[in-house]
């Protein structure tokens, strides 16, 4: 412990801890350095979730199956909503698969700060690692459900519903990526705000439910073509993704280039705002949580 003389040249320090730094100071290189941690979190999420359950990962399959059955009954048999000429089981299942991925990304990233408060309070690592690992571990779940969908498509192929295998299938990863991006972006914005105002987490459950009804998950976009609620569906950036996802798989429905582009821009925007807000909150949230 010595006093440095005032004439020594400025020294190099690796880390400088200061009050709020610039709004735009993002440290993505640091996130990259912690990539091993990210993978370990993905693994932990996956391994730990189904410990001490009998069916284990089978739950990934059961859940969409039951939802499909429910939709089949409610929207198909009771409400009699058409499915654009797509086999109803495949129609509902495809909608549920992509929607589940979005809602999982959104709800699981939205509680980043609160559910990890204990660990964040003790040790530093780039906080962004957590929501990123959530999005990745949900991709695994999406993969399983997508596999289930393919199995059903093959089963139906034997029943005389041909599989439209074409170049559009190459778009699917992009659509999934945009879906993940919107979920992540909205999720981290909400997680940043809930550190101070917990009310938002109650609103979110409700919003996700509502969101599904203004997204063409259980009905085709064409079904609402002439109603006065069409605008509500149109401004929803998830609409075009869901429709395009179905179009790629079945070759039926509507795909609009500007719609997908709109979703892409929306994604870039929420991710941008999200990381900035997140970055700002992560420094001091331990004092308010």
């Amino acid at each position: 412990m010595s006093k440095t003389a005032s004439n020594t040249p400025p020294e190099h320090f690796d880390i400088v801890l200061q009050p709020q730094t610039s709004f735009f100071k993002l440290n993505l290189a640091e996130v990259w350095r912690y990539r091993d941690l990210m993978w370990l979190f993905v693994r932990r999420d996956f391994v730990a979730q189904y410990k001490q359950t009998i069916l284990g990962p089978v739950w990934h399959v059961i859940q969409p199956l039951l939802t499909t059955l429910m939709f089949l009954f409610l929207f198909g048999k009771v409400a009699n909503i058409p499915t654009d000429g797509i086999e109803p089981v495949l129609f509902y299942m495809s909608g549920i698969t992509i929607w589940n991925y979005f809602s999982a990304c959104l709800t699981n990233t939205s509680n980043t700060f609160i559910s990890n408060a204990a660990i964040f309070g003790k040790v530093y690592f780039p906080r962004l690692v957590i929501p990123l690992s959530v999005v990745i571990s949900n991709i695994v779940r999406f993969g399983i459900q997508f596999g289930l969908l393919l199995v059903f498509m093959i089963v139906y192929a034997f029943k005389g519903v041909p599989i439209h295998f074409n170049l559009y299938w190459l778009c699917i990863p992009i659509l999934v990526f945009v879906m993940a991006g919107i979920g992540l972006g909205l999720g981290i914005i909400i997680s940043s705000l809930t550190t101070k105002y917990r009310d938002l987490s109650f609103l979110l459950t409700f919003a996700v439910q509502l969101g599904m009804y203004i997204t063409p998950v259980a009905y085709p976009l064409s079904y609402l073509e002439k109603t006065k609620y069409k605008w509500l569906i149109d401004i929803n950036p998830l609409t075009s993704i869901t429709e395009a996802f179905r179009f790629c798989l079945f070759g039926k429905g509507t795909i609009e280039m500007q719609g997908v582009l709109y979703s892409l821009v929306f994604m870039v925007l929420v991710i941008g705002v999200g990381t900035l807000v997140f970055n700002r909150v992560e420094k001091n949230f331990m004092d308010t949580v």
Partner: protein, 437 residues
């Protein structure tokens, strides 16, 4: 080029008292209003110094106020102070879990903290998986952990259970594994906070040894926060005494500890009252044979400990025990479980005292622990707790023929117990030594 690795400059941290939520929106809006007009944050001006005992008059409190210090590479620095003096806030900022309100900290190299062990341990995962997870959380890469894996497992001593989920571990095993991971971190600066409270004596010794190695052999810097003055003294070379959010003193560890212990206020009174205890220890007085309260004694003095307790219930024939520890570990004590003497009953307020006669101790600092058990000898009525310290302040040179300063320095670090002995010299002369008489 100096070798300063931690440079703390004008560091302050402000906290809001009371309930967050009510009124915070109004404060936020007010803050924004000031900011928009280009004025300074109005709430930074208010705030009081950090003193638990005074009732707060404003909603904001300064946990740290204008803290400055430098730490050089390879130093082991003990940070001491009362509860609420700002130690934890300082460590939180250093370990980057929160950021300062004003001022800055500059660090060289990676910093890893051991604020509370087992951070990020997932109960469902095995010990092996948790080593990797915990290591990665603390900033190691997968390959770094792999290369240290065998060493970590060997150090923790839980080889047999390495593939068992950690939820089946005993708390001791849990801590061993967690400390093992942290102790093998590749960081240049290590922060350790009160982790040694758990784990058995053998493991505690191992941890202290490891921390000493880390600093002396690998040249890494260690910040150690503890209430155990024996451990601080044994481990650290430098000390920082915090009080009311400020640095009260810094320098060689012995001077800093001495300053802390001279502090006349009843340092421990508020820590003692553990509401979970069946017999609550309200205060402990350290007195000399003249009945004066003091923490400083001479070699051969009597030490009287007066324990003022409050028994929440009526307990028949409870066992009390008192233990005295030096920097090297447990030394001696008075234990009713061994001597068989015990009070007929305790009920409500009361005092129990113990007089240790003719302390045969070297001039060092000793800590006192107490506890109580029910008449079955097993059920804890008062959890074991450290209740205070006392110093032996005799000048060793006054008692011996030694002339050099070495005697004084060695006495600080030597085995603490003094007994009388005889030297048999080469010329056949027998010389009795009675340092203690």
């Amino acid at each position: 080029m100096s070798d300063i690795v931690i440079k703390v400059e004008g560091l302050s941290k402000q906290y809001r008292l009371g309930q967050i939520g009510t009124g915070s929106l109004a404060h936020d809006i007010n803050r924004l209003w000031y900011k928009l007009r280009g004025k300074e944050d109005p709430y930074l001006k208010v705030g009081e110094e950090n003193d638990r005992t005074k009732k707060a008059e404003s909603d904001y409190v300064w946990a740290l106020r204008d803290v400055n210090f430098d730490i050089k590479q390879g130093e082991v620095v003990g940070i001491i102070g009362r509860n609420g003096a700002g130690k934890s806030s300082l460590l939180k900022i250093l370990s980057r879990t929160t950021s300062p309100t004003t001022g800055q900290v500059k660090l060289k190299g990676r910093i890893a903290s051991l604020l509370e062990v087992g951070t990020g341990f997932h109960p469902e995962l095995s010990g092996r998986e948790n080593i990797f997870l915990n290591g990665a959380i603390l900033g190691m890469t997968k390959s770094e952990i792999k290369s240290k894996f065998d060493e970590i497992v060997a150090f923790s001593g839980v080889e047999r259970y390495i593939d068992t989920p950690v939820k089946r571990y005993s708390s001791g095993m849990y801590v061993r594994l967690a400390f093992a991971v942290a102790a093998h971190l590749q960081s240049e600066i290590l922060i350790v906070d009160e982790v040694l409270a758990v784990g058995d004596a053998e493991f505690q010794k191992k941890c202290l040894g490891k921390m000493k190695d880390v600093s002396t052999q690998q040249g890494r810097t260690v910040l150690f926060v503890s209430h155990n003055m024996g451990a601080v003294r044994g481990l650290c070379t430098m000390g920082i005494l915090m009080q009311h959010g400020k640095v009260e003193q810094q320098g060689p560890v012995n001077n800093v500890i001495a300053k802390y212990l001279i502090n006349p206020s009843a340092v421990f009174n508020n820590i003692l009252k553990d509401p979970n205890d069946s017999i609550v220890i309200e205060s402990v007085a350290f007195k000399n044979s003249a009945g004066e309260s003091t923490q400083n004694y001479k070699i051969g003095d009597d030490l009287i400990l007066e324990i003022n307790y409050f028994a929440k219930d009526r307990f028949e024939q409870p066992y009390f025990w008192i233990g005295v520890e030096s920097q090297f570990g447990s030394l001696f004590g008075a234990n009713m479980l061994i001597d068989g003497k015990r009070p007929a009953e305790v009920n409500g307020k009361g005092t129990i005292a113990c007089r240790f006669k003719n302390l045969p101790l070297m001039p060092q600092t000793y800590s006192v622990w107490i506890g109580a058990r029910a008449s079955d000898g097993r059920t804890g009525l008062t959890k074991a707790k450290e209740v205070g310290f006392f110093n032996i302040v005799s000048n060793i040179q006054d008692l011996s023929a030694a002339e050099s300063d070495h005697a004084e320095i060695l006495a600080n670090d030597s085995t603490p117990v003094i007994i009388n002995y005889e030297w048999q010299m080469p010329d056949g002369k027998t010389i009795p030594v009675n340092l203690f008489n």
